[in-house]
């Protein structure tokens, strides 16, 4: 039987807002959303609740209740980021952590679900694990309710509706039934519709439903009721899908004393990579994607990700990349001295928020995960034929650095295509993909510009005297053309264009065309 811990953060958007803006801690706070019927309260603090503010109330009505109320717009994306940060933070208790994705709070999740099966022994028992988690979260300023139970549904229900703020229920079926029976029906994570049916029938608690004949429940209240009941009591499986998949290869080290200083950290990382590279080599695998996690005392862990264009099991290669990535992060634009942009999952969103984390802060543990690997036997041939063995390594390192920093889509090779219109004459393919020899028909015979706009730009044309582009008039000196270019009729948008090479008075040459069907002029490129 598995063991699950649910951590419920009541009024999470308010808690998140107050974490970011501590000055709002003691004030009655209401977070609103804009809707078709104006601004509506989405969630409010306990103090605002006591003043009569409720979710669904319009902001105008709420203002009438008290002048002391503080209103802010709800930032759902930020709430999600905050929850994901917390999710990463609690991986110190178990690697299998998920954010609730169903139930009444699916829109702005407020609960973390942890699979702690087998982890309790590390903390000397479930109670100690729970108390440690709660005390550390409280220290961080969060209000949290928690429950440990043998099913996800039960843990969720007890955390949300249990009488105590922390509950541990054993695997005993009777104990579970006793604990759940007294809880309100909302603990079953049911949609609003069946819940509304129960109320007039005098069914308020889970125990009330259990007394009803089970066969009649689906036809009367829908399938979801029996499904949720079965999940809560362990009669139906419910899988926890962790936020991050389990790594294929993993090495980790925690330190007796926190580590400070990047050079020492790099030395440790180099040492850690040795068993990792050995493990990869023994399994005849090469890493394609690596995550390096730095765990700090209080702040959320930092993750440096590396993407490789070819798989590698070379410790030296992986270390160079990892070191370069961490150095890049340290020098990240916008990061203040001694700080690094937090690159935790999901990297982009958190970077957009511009959150920073002090690197000077000591590192308590390091873990390197290989999250994607490939068979070394299937490794592709070198990208560039003439690269010597030694230089090939250097070129690989360069390409991997570029891919890691800019993304796989930004570092490409060119595949010529025998396609019209001209903007479809080639495509960029990521480094990992094989490219074919160019078909000879794809190489242009007629003059083509070196600068080609991916999308032609409409221009004002006074043919054949001037054309204007970017509000700049260009006097036409000479014209060569037209050259008719047509794409096939089977294309979604068939192109039928007359192209001209237009030389302006300065001698600069542009590639313009007239779209025959629309009788409009476009700039498509320049002979740079």
């Amino acid at each position: 039987m598995r063991r699950y811990l649910a951590l419920y953060f009541p009024r999470w958007p308010v808690q998140r807002f107050r974490q970011l803006y501590p000055q709002s801690r003691d004030r009655p706070l209401a977070l609103f959303e804009r809707s078709q019927r104006g601004s509506v309260i989405a969630v409010c603090s306990g103090e605002a609740n006591r003043l009569g503010v409720r979710g669904g109330l319009s902001v105008a009505d709420a203002k009438a209740l008290s002048s002391a109320l503080e209103f802010h717009e709800l930032d759902l994306a930020d709430c999600k980021i905050g929850m994901e940060e917390l999710c990463l933070w609690v991986t110190r208790f178990t690697p299998l952590v998920s954010i609730e994705s169903t139930g009444p709070h699916a829109r702005f999740p407020q609960t973390l679900l942890l699979d702690i099966t087998g982890c309790e022994s590390v903390f000397d028992g479930e109670e100690k694990l729970l108390s440690q988690a709660l005390s550390r979260l409280k220290k961080k300023g969060y209000k949290v309710r928690a429950a440990i139970a043998p099913t996800l549904g039960a843990a969720w229900a007890l955390a949300h509706h249990g009488a105590l703020s922390s509950i541990v229920v054993s695997n005993d079926a009777d104990a579970l039934k006793e604990a759940l029976s007294v809880l309100p029906l909302a603990g079953l994570r049911l949609p609003a519709e069946p819940l509304a049916y129960f109320q007039p029938l005098g069914l308020h608690r889970i125990g009330d439903i259990l007394k009803q004949p089970r066969e009649s429940l689906p036809s009367r209240f829908g399938k979801s009721v029996t499904e949720r009941l079965d999940q809560a009591f362990g009669d139906a499986a419910e899988t926890l899908i962790p936020l991050r998949p389990a790594p294929e290869f993993r090495v980790a080290r925690s330190f007796e004393y926190p580590v400070r200083g990047s050079e020492l950290l790099f030395t440790i990382l180099e040492q850690l990579l040795e068993p990792l590279a050995r493990g990869l080599d023994q399994a005849q695998r090469g890493a394609r994607h690596i995550e390096c996690w730095l765990y700090h005392g209080i702040a959320a862990p930092v993750c440096a990700e590396i993407a490789l264009h070819r798989c590698s099991a070379s410790r030296k290669h992986l270390f160079h990349l990892l070191r370069a990535r961490l150095e890049d992060l340290l020098r990240a634009p916008g990061a203040t001295r001694g700080k690094v942009k937090r690159n935790t999952w999901p990297a982009k969103k958190i970077q957009d928020k511009g959150l920073t984390l002090e690197v000077e802060e000591s590192v308590e543990a390091v873990a390197i995960h290989v999250t994607a690997s490939e068979s070394l036997a299937d490794q592709q041939l070198p990208l560039f034929e003439r690269a010597s063995a030694e230089n090939s390594g250097e070129l690989s390192l360069l390409l991997d650095r570029l891919v890691t920093r800019l993304g796989a889509a930004a570092v490409c090779r060119v595949q010529l295509e025998d396609e019209l219109p001209p903007e479809r004459g080639f495509r960029l393919v990521p480094l990992g993909e094989r490219i074919n020899r160019s078909p000879s028909s794809a190489i242009p015979v007629a003059p083509r510009p070196l600068g080609l706009l991916p999308q032609p730009i409409a221009i004002k044309m006074d043919w054949p005297r001037t054309f204007s582009w970017n509000e700049m008039p260009h006097a036409i000196h000479s014209v060569t053309g037209p050259e008719r270019i047509e794409s096939g009729w089977w294309r979604e948008v068939a192109a039928r264009r007359d192209y001209y090479i237009v030389e302006v008075n300065s001698g600069a040459r542009y590639w313009l065309f007239e779209e025959i069907n629309e009788q409009r002029w476009f700039l498509h490129g320049w002979f740079d």
């Binding site: 250097e394 794809a442 070196l450 060569t480 040459r509 002979f527 740079d528």
Partner: protein, 215 residues
């Protein structure tokens, strides 16, 4: 000290600094055009350096000139690279100019990362030549590019707008490129470029010379 004396002293110091060649290699490679080689102050292009090409507007042929000048210098190396931040590089044309597209790496870096990416491309010993159309660069970046080119030993070409003329030059060469208009409206394009040497590191006297070439 009189102002004129001070200015003269500063001027001579600047000239002395300008004559220092940062690139330790004296080796040159041909630009594939004998008239350009004899026009260039070092008798060719210097590997391990980068060249600034200045153009008044797009369409003047500076990029084509860069590709043509660098071709023979880069062909012994396994790869060449284009930093294409705005996504306008039309690769099939490079093939018609004699470049092997199988050896090409196209990097589409966002503006903030372009300088970083170009410096890394220049630093690689396996990249024979790399090209970048850049609108804004600062002096710090130029110094990084210079060091990167010296380490890598390849050639870098940076194509810049005319506004860059007011800024200091950090490349081994700074050349202004203009297209020569056709003789008459009905005539075919001249296909000629007018090149003006604005700066050559270590060759202060060479600046100002001009050449018209059919590349």
């Amino acid at each position: 000290m009189a102002t004129t004396v001070l200015i003269e002293r500063l001027r001579s110091q600047i000239q002395a600094l300008d004559c220092v060649t940062f690139n330790h290699s004296k080796r040159t490679v041909s630009s594939s055009f004998s008239e350009v080689d004899s026009w260039l102050p070092h008798g060719g292009l210097q590997p391990g350096s980068f060249v600034e090409l200045i153009q008044d507007s797009e369409g003047t042929g500076a990029y084509t000139a860069a590709l043509k000048l660098a071709r023979s210098a880069a062909e012994t190396k396994p790869a060449w690279a284009v930093l294409d931040s705005d996504g306008t590089f039309h690769a099939p044309v490079a093939e018609t100019l004699g470049w092997d597209l199988q050896k090409l790496v196209v990097v589409r870096a966002p503006p903030n990362d372009s300088g970083w990416a170009f410096a890394h491309l220049l630093r690689s010993k396996d990249i024979g030549a790399c090209f970048w159309v850049s609108r804004n660069m600062d002096n710090m970046l130029f110094r990084r590019l210079q060091l990167a080119a010296e380490r890598g030993g390849g050639l870098g070409f940076v194509i810049r707008p005319a506004a860059a003329l007011r800024k200091p030059c950090w490349g081994s060469l700074r050349i202004q490129v203009r297209a020569t208009p056709s003789a008459a409206p009905s005539a075919a394009p001249s296909g000629k470029l007018w090149l003006r040497l604005l700066h050559a590191r270590g060759q202060a006297n060479a600046a100002g010379s001009e050449i018209e070439v059919a590349l």
